[in-house]
């Protein structure tokens, strides 16, 4: 994992490394799809597939036996199921943030990682979406959560935050998918035009919808893309806010917290960036050509975002504790005392270390620029964010109002196999994505390269600003 970091480091590093031109960009990124994968891909994919089968098996057993196979119980009605749901949804948020918010903020460094993180969003939301659907006692009746006209004359109950979840998560998934696919259309056109095999041409041709790069099309495309980004931004903020409302609108001490929406959104971004780093580092190793586009600059930026959101989250923890005491409400006070000193205090302090303490290393460029450390910190944050949901959801439930209704909670083997199974499913999907779709938005990279090196004179430059570039050497060969 140790990688020799060459200067320049951090944000001094370029956004695109090496000698590049339109052709090399297209070839390096598109080539991954059009050529056979590196050998390591097969065992890794197989591993992901095997783990996914564990998940499938768990789901079958769950449907046959009921959710009693999980560790949930009377006071703690939600355990791993909703913890994992919130965790995965949170991870998904970084993708949308990178692709939408950073686009609106005109952050150029987003270009290399947006496609990748959008895929992550979609797969994370798939993993997340599985849990609310399966956590019900009678999953075969989940369609009752949708307002379908029916013969019972019964409708969903729209005052329930759980129903808001249904709409928020399904909208989020749909819009993320639309956004992702919109971005993929021109790249599929590139692949269509570069593919050698007939089948690849047909598939890519179909998926590209006949994209031909017309200027009029680009104009509407850019407009639509920007609008989608603009829509995704409030959406992504609303989704985790709605998820947090599951808790905030309830009356459980430890759930009934007004600070939850912003705190959850920050936590989501925090976890999401950690996951992007967790994925980017190994993918750069599997596909070395990606190092040209996902550079140390990107790693540094992501580390900084993590640090910033981590501080917001940590502020949230402080506020939770502060208001619990400040409220002078014995239940709230007990809730935080129980987190501090109760039976699950271990998880609380582990959470503080994982999410509060260790990420402070990122203040130091030494740690930000060392992929080994960066990777380590991001893994710690992934764990910490899971613990945070455990503390909020299960530890709050296990001791709330009436001592006679108190209890304990621990996940069973099936909780773990479901959780780990979704991780493998996620990994499998990421490998499938890497194999069959361009991991970086090719057309946007071309655009970025053009802006960085080719069109320095400005993008409405009427005079062809021909900036000689070392990358141009190869273009002559094609002529």
């Amino acid at each position: 994992m140790q990688e020799t970091i060459k200067p320049p480091m951090g944000t001094d590093a370029p956004l695109i490394e090496g000698k590049q031109n339109y052709e090399t960009i297209t070839e390096k990124i598109g080539g991954i799809v059009l050529k056979s994968p590196p050998k390591i891909w097969y065992p890794l994919f197989a591993l992901g597939f095997a783990g996914t089968m564990v998940m499938v098996f768990t789901i079958c057993w769950l449907l046959l036996r009921g959710i009693g196979i999980w560790g949930v119980n009377q006071p703690v009605g939600w355990g791993f199921d909703i913890i994992n749901f919130v965790w995965w949804i949170g991870i998904g948020h970084a993708g949308t943030l990178i692709s939408a918010i950073l686009l609106l903020l005109r952050q150029q460094w987003r270009t290399s990682i947006n496609r990748f993180s959008e895929a992550m969003t979609i797969f994370a939301v798939m993993c997340a979406g599985m849990f609310p659907l399966l956590h019900t006692g009678r999953p075969w009746l989940d369609y009752w959560l949708f307002p379908l006209p029916n013969w019972l004359a019964m409708w969903p109950q729209f005052r329930s935050p759980l129903l808001w979840d249904v709409f928020a998560v399904s909208t989020y998934f749909t819009v993320s998918l639309l956004f992702w696919y919109t971005g993929l259309i021109p790249d599929f056109a590139s692949l269509r035009d570069r593919a050698k095999g007939k089948i690849a041409q047909l598939i890519c041709g179909t998926l590209s919808l006949g994209w031909r790069g017309s200027a009029k099309h680009w104009m509407r495309y850019e407009s639509a893309y920007l609008l989608l980004a603009g829509l995704s931004t409030p959406l992504v903020l609303s989704v985790h806010s709605v998820v947090s409302l599951d808790f905030a609108t309830s009356i459980v001490p430890g759930w009934h917290v007004t600070v939850f929406p912003p705190y959850f959104v920050a936590g989501a971004i925090y976890a999401g960036f950690a996951m992007v780093i967790t994925l980017a580092v190994p993918f750069r190793m599997i596909y070395p050509q990606l190092k040209d586009y996902i550079t140390n600059h990107h790693m540094d930026m992501m580390a900084k975002v993590m640090l910033a959101t981590g501080l917001i989250v940590f502020y949230g923890y402080m506020m939770e504790a502060f208001y619990s005491f400040y409220s002078a409400n014995q239940f709230e006070t007990y809730m935080i005392e129980n987190r501090f000193w109760g039976p699950y205090s271990g998880t609380y302090w582990a959470l503080m270390i994982c999410n509060g303490l260790i990420p402070q290393l990122l203040w130091f460029p030494r740690f930000r620029h060392n992929l080994f450390w960066l990777y380590g910190v991001s893994m710690v944050v992934n764990v910490g964010m899971w613990l945070e949901r455990f503390v909020i959801i299960s530890v709050s439930l296990h001791r709330e109002y009436k001592p006679s209704g108190w209890g304990f909670y621990a996940g069973t083997q099936w909780d773990w196999s479901m959780f780990i199974g979704t991780i493998f499913f996620f990994v499998m999907m990421m490998f499938l994505f890497a194999r069959f779709m361009p991991m970086i938005a090719i057309f946007e990279m071309r655009d970025l390269w053009h802006r960085l090196y080719h069109g320095k004179s400005g993008h409405n430059g009427h005079a062809p600003a021909h900036v000689p570039n070392s990358a141009e050497v190869t273009s002559k060969e094609d002529a």
């Binding site: 009921g66 109950q157 309830s250 009356i251 239940f331 109002y401």
Partner: protein
């Protein structure tokens, strides 16, 4: 007439049962009268597992699963309701209306042979629910958990159905041939080799038949034995008054009650009666000036101890010392015994009790537990006589041959040892399991040539007898029994024999005697001269209670040396299990799963001990896994390994073991549950043993305890949970106080509760009026009075029976998935080793602003116009969000398919008016909405309003202490409105502003000024 009609139904049921074996017909019995019966439509393809639900998959399950998973989607989609059938009567019984329940009176036989009158609700000939019989002295309309669960004993799938010889199925014909041959031989010997062992009985008909039988066989002997018996009580009375007499107390009038290890509100034949009468005196009324005072000295916290004003924990051997000290303090001379050294607390307790007793004079009484030595009973008799207590009277015992259980079983053992027994009939009972261990009955029984054991199960004794004879359930037979006061009630069959080969003891003995009369005729004969139809209808035989026997005040009590226990550092108290009794209810899953009243343990017996003792022994718990260390208990050469269980309030220097567990042949649920304390119990240590050696092992054992979670928070920095029970301290959960405080300010203000103006975005809902002329809405509400609640769990059992509540098994209880809709919360107050116990029954609170409803995404739980928090099982998808958001945690979830859909006989048990919930569905109390609907429909048909008291919820109906009021709070005259107006009325967690419809009164103790606990919450705010 009854008889005629009964048989008609029964033949129908029988017929169906026979056909059930061919399959498919069980559906139709439900639809016998076009009834949408039990089954919620549920996915039948999902396999049902037995009660223990393991989570691990084995290889076979794996393949099944893989196959099933392929077909899963298709199967669930293609579910089709099978064609239902309607099977009408061939000849309809005259006054049976299908769909309308009919109530029949009968009697339940409790330990010792005492009867408690019941009314059984029957649906199309199958009893489904037991209620108390108001006309019966021992019931007064109430019941207890064991009575409620008796209905499950009737339908127990493990009941013995076949007559067995050496374990192989045989016939009655062969048995009778053998029996008559041997009896013929015995007749010549005048029955010298014939012994009959039965439990104690009070049945006049049975006693008459036995006596007739014994006339034929004058040398034969009839012994009675119950492992939990009243030998000491009668012996004590004999010591004091010269003859065995039975004390009857008037707790309604008593002003000072001193109980020396007597759990009179829970144990014994008069428990329900006592509980009712005690609660009448105890209930707070506005302007109340005087309240009775209850002193209890006991080893382990009992139901009675929990409601005591002054509970003193004492080792079993110390109880007698306290009795002696009390007698001496009262000036009652006791010869041959001294109180010995008393601790400061004991001395103060004795002094206060003596002072109060003297002050109360004839309104004072002392009662002693059956397990205490006879001499202590004698002392109590003397004190009561000395007080000229008018609240204590003595009557003839109702049992036949009272007080000779131990003598009887010893004599039988001796007879067998001496080889004088050639034919032994054991009609009920289970001596191999529960006879004193030193008699070694398991070795004795095989020595007898012809042994026959009549019992409802093929139990430990059946296994060793030549013949096992299946016994009818009392609900299937005719008979009679006396209550504690001697009054007689009748048994009538509520259902035909479920299994054709079962017989009652009465039938067996009459057949053997050659009397060819049916049990009904025998009962009729016994009560000749009375209107038998009316007796059967009422269930009770009037004017049969025994008159009081006048006793003289003994000049002094002489205690023979050695008759009071000497005691040791480590003693064992043997008590019957509060729910499964002496073990005869071991296979009753309801009773197994209902938490024991004071300890909240279920499915097991454990060694209860004080916290100090647990610390001394090095007992370390793993509460997250609910594991307790196993401990070896050694008394003499007998040992038992049992989990060590620290219990606040238990006496130091002793452990308490409950009898009745550790069955080896106790049915699929009774076998293997718990540990057999009988193995430690010899004929010299029937109720207590001293000199036990305890050694805690490192092996852990999971114990299902529904309220262990918060009791011990050892080693954490948290406040002790005992701080959270006191309303004035932290959590506004219970209002507790002293009678002195109450007299000062009946509102018992709590210092932390600040009334808030509730704010709402929304207008208040109208729960008052309808549009129509009769526009007064019903607003159902419940008030529970913890002041009189003893925590006996009758309500829990009644609710379980009424609402088809599933049993989940020990493993699931450990995983905190018990299903009871009403639970009795136990809160401690005071020091951890010796706290006061407070009980608070909690049902669904039916909050008007219910937090559960808002969060349900499918509107499966919404409010009705009458203010009920409705739960629609068929709509529920099972998100469990409602339960998370319920501050009272009263919702219950079917994590698995807990309901038994498959066992045919259990289908007869179900209340047809309540849905049997399937897997993945939330459920909870709905104030017995089926009863509300029934009453509403009946009232509407008659064009009238529902009358006050017309709707009685199951819990309310069962409650012996009448601690629950239910009714329309819009009616200012209803009981519930009256209770809500009480000054000490309070709302649990009121500050949440969920406006629950179930509210509470305060719990007030009447402390002796010298003993009142120091108020320790003065500086808390």
């Amino acid at each position: 007439m009854e008889n005629q009609q009964e048989r008609m139904d029964l033949s129908q049921i029988r017929e169906k049962l026979d056909k059930a074996k061919e399959g498919g017909l069980w559906r139709s019995i439900g639809e016998l009268a076009e009834r949408p019966e039990f089954e919620e439509y549920l996915h039948q393809e999902f396999p049902r597992q037995s009660a223990s639900l393991g989570d691990f998959v084995n290889r076979r399950q794996f393949f099944k699963l893989m196959g099933a998973s392929l077909a899963l989607a298709g199967l669930t989609a293609c579910h089709r309701k099978p064609q239902g059938k309607i099977v009408p009567f061939v000849k309809a019984p005259e006054d049976m209306i299908p769909g309308q329940a009919v109530f029949y009176a009968s009697t339940i036989i409790k330990n010792g042979g005492f009867g408690v009158g019941i009314l059984a609700e029957t649906h199309e000939g199958r009893p489904t629910k037991i209620e108390g019989n108001e006309l019966h002295a021992a019931s007064l309309g109430s019941s207890d958990a064991m009575m409620q669960a008796e209905i499950l004993n009737l339908y127990d799938p493990d009941r013995s159905q076949a007559i067995l010889k050496f374990g192989r199925i045989d016939t009655w014909k062969v048995f009778w041939e053998e029996a008559f041959t041997e009896a013929g031989r015995q007749k010549i010997l005048k029955g010298a080799g014939l012994r009959i062992l039965t439990p104690n009985t009070t049945s006049p008909t049975f006693i008459r038949q036995m006596q007739a039988f014994l006339k034929e066989f004058p040398q034969a002997k009839w012994y009675q034995y119950d492992p939990v018996n009243r030998d000491n009580l009668y012996e004590g009375a004999r010591m004091a008054f010269g003859s065995p007499l039975m004390p009857v107390y008037d707790f309604a009038q008593a002003q000072t009650i001193v109980s020396l290890d007597s759990d009179f509100l829970y144990e014994g034949p008069a428990a329900i009666h006592s509980s009712r009468k005690f609660s009448e005196a105890r209930r707070l009324r506005e302007g109340m000036e005087r309240m009775n005072r209850l002193y209890v000295a006991e080893t382990m916290p009992s139901v009675t101890g929990s409601i005591a004003d002054h509970r003193l924990r004492a080792k079993p051997s110390q109880i007698a010392s306290l009795g002696v000290a009390l007698a001496q303090a009262m000036g009652v001379p006791v010869n041959g015994a001294s109180a010995g050294e008393l601790s400061e607390a004991q001395r103060k307790w004795v002094e206060a009790a003596a002072q109060d007793l003297k002050a109360s004079g004839s309104d004072g009484l002392v009662t002693v537990g059956d397990q205490q030595p006879a001499a202590l009973h004698a002392i109590a008799c003397a004190i009561n006589a000395f007080l000229q207590s008018r609240v204590t009277r003595y009557i003839q015992p109702a049992e036949f041959n009272p007080g000779n259980n131990l003598n009887g079983i010893k004599a039988l053992a001796r007879d067998i040892q001496e080889n004088t027994v050639e034919m032994l009939l054991i009609l009920g009972g289970n001596p191999v399991y529960n006879a004193p261990a030193d008699l070694k009955f398991e070795e004795l029984i095989p020595k007898v040539k012809l042994t026959a054991h009549l019992s409802r199960y093929t139990d430990e004794t059946s296994a060793l007898c030549v013949w096992h004879l299946p016994e009818s359930h009392p609900f299937e037979t005719w008979g009679d029994a006396r209550a504690f006061d001697g009054s007689v009630s009748l048994l009538q069959p509520l259902i035909g024999q479920l299994y054709p080969d079962t017989r009652s003891a009465l039938e067996v003995i009459t057949t053997l005697a050659g009397v060819s009369k049916l049990p009904y005729d025998l009962v009729k004969e016994t009560w000749a001269g009375r209107n038998i139809d009316k007796l059967v209808h009422d269930g009770v035989v009037p004017n049969t209670a025994f008159p009081s026997v006048s006793v003289s005040v003994p000049e002094s009590v002489s205690v023979p040396s050695g008759s009071l226990p000497s005691g040791s550092d480590t003693e064992i108290a043997f008590l019957p299990d509060p729910l499964i009794g002496d073990g005869s209810n071991a296979n009753n899953t309801w009773l197994q799963e209902i938490p024991k009243p004071t300890t909240k343990v279920c499915w097991d017996n454990v060694a209860y001990m004080s916290l100090d003792m647990a610390a001394r022994l090095g007992v370390k718990l793993d509460l997250t896994k609910q594991s307790y260390p196993l401990m070896e208990v050694k008394v003499g050469d007998r040992t038992l390994v049992v989990p060590a269980f620290p219990l606040p309030g238990h006496a130091d220097g002793a452990i308490t073991l409950h009898l009745g567990y550790g069955r080896t042949r106790g049915g699929q649920n009774g076998s293997g549950a718990g540990f057999n304390a009988y193995t430690l119990r010899g004929s010299d240590s029937m109720s207590m043993a001293s000199g036990a050696e305890l050694s805690v092992t490192r092996q852990m054992y999971p114990v299902a305890c529904t309220e262990a979670h918060h009791v011990f928070d050892f080693g954490t920095g948290l406040k002790s949970p005992t701080d959270y029970i006191d309303s004035s301290n932290a959590r506004p959960i219970m209002k507790v106080g002293s009678f002195t405080d109450y007299k000062k300010d009946p509102h018992l203000p709590d210092h932390h509760h600040h009334a808030m103006e509730p704010m709402s975005m929304y207008a208040e809902r109208n729960y008052k009026t309808y549009d129509n002329p009769d526009n007064h809405k019903y607003a159902w509400a419940m008030v529970i009075d913890p002041q009189v609640c003893t925590g006996c769990n009758a309500c829990v059992a009644a609710c379980q029976a009424e609402n088809n509540i599933s049993v989940v098994g020990k493993d699931q209880v450990i995983r905190q998935r018990e299903m009871h809709w009403i639970r009795v919360d136990r809160y401690y107050k005071g020091p951890a080793d010796d706290p006061e116990l407070n009980f608070l029954p909690v049902t669904c609170m039916q909050c008007e602003k219910a937090p559960c409803e808002v969060v349900c995404p499918v509107a499966a739980t919404v409010h009705s116009e009458e203010g009920l928090n409705q739960m629609v099982y068929n709509r529920c998808v099972g998100t469990r969000y409602c339960s998370n958001n319920c501050p009272y945690k009263v919702r219950r979830f079917n994590f698995y398919k807990y309901a038994d859909y498959d066992t045919p006989v259990l289908k007869l048990l179900r209340n047809p008016n309540v849905t049997v919930r399937g897997r993945g569905v939330m459920e909870k109390c709905t104030y017995c909405v089926q009863r509300i609907n029934h009453a509403r429909i009946e009232a509407k048909k008659e064009n009238r309003r529902i009358r006050e008291g017309e709707i009685v919820t199951a819990c309310q109906q069962a409650c012996p202490a009448q601690a629950i009021a239910f009714g329309d709070m819009n009616d200012p005259n209803s009981k519930v409105s009256q209770w809500r107006k009480q000054p000490q009325h309070f709302v649990m967690l009121e500050e949440l502003n969920v406006t629950p419809r179930t509210t509470y009164l305060a719990r007030v103790r009447n402390y002796h000024p010298e003993l009142a606990p120091e108020e320790h919450h003065a500086g808390d705010h």
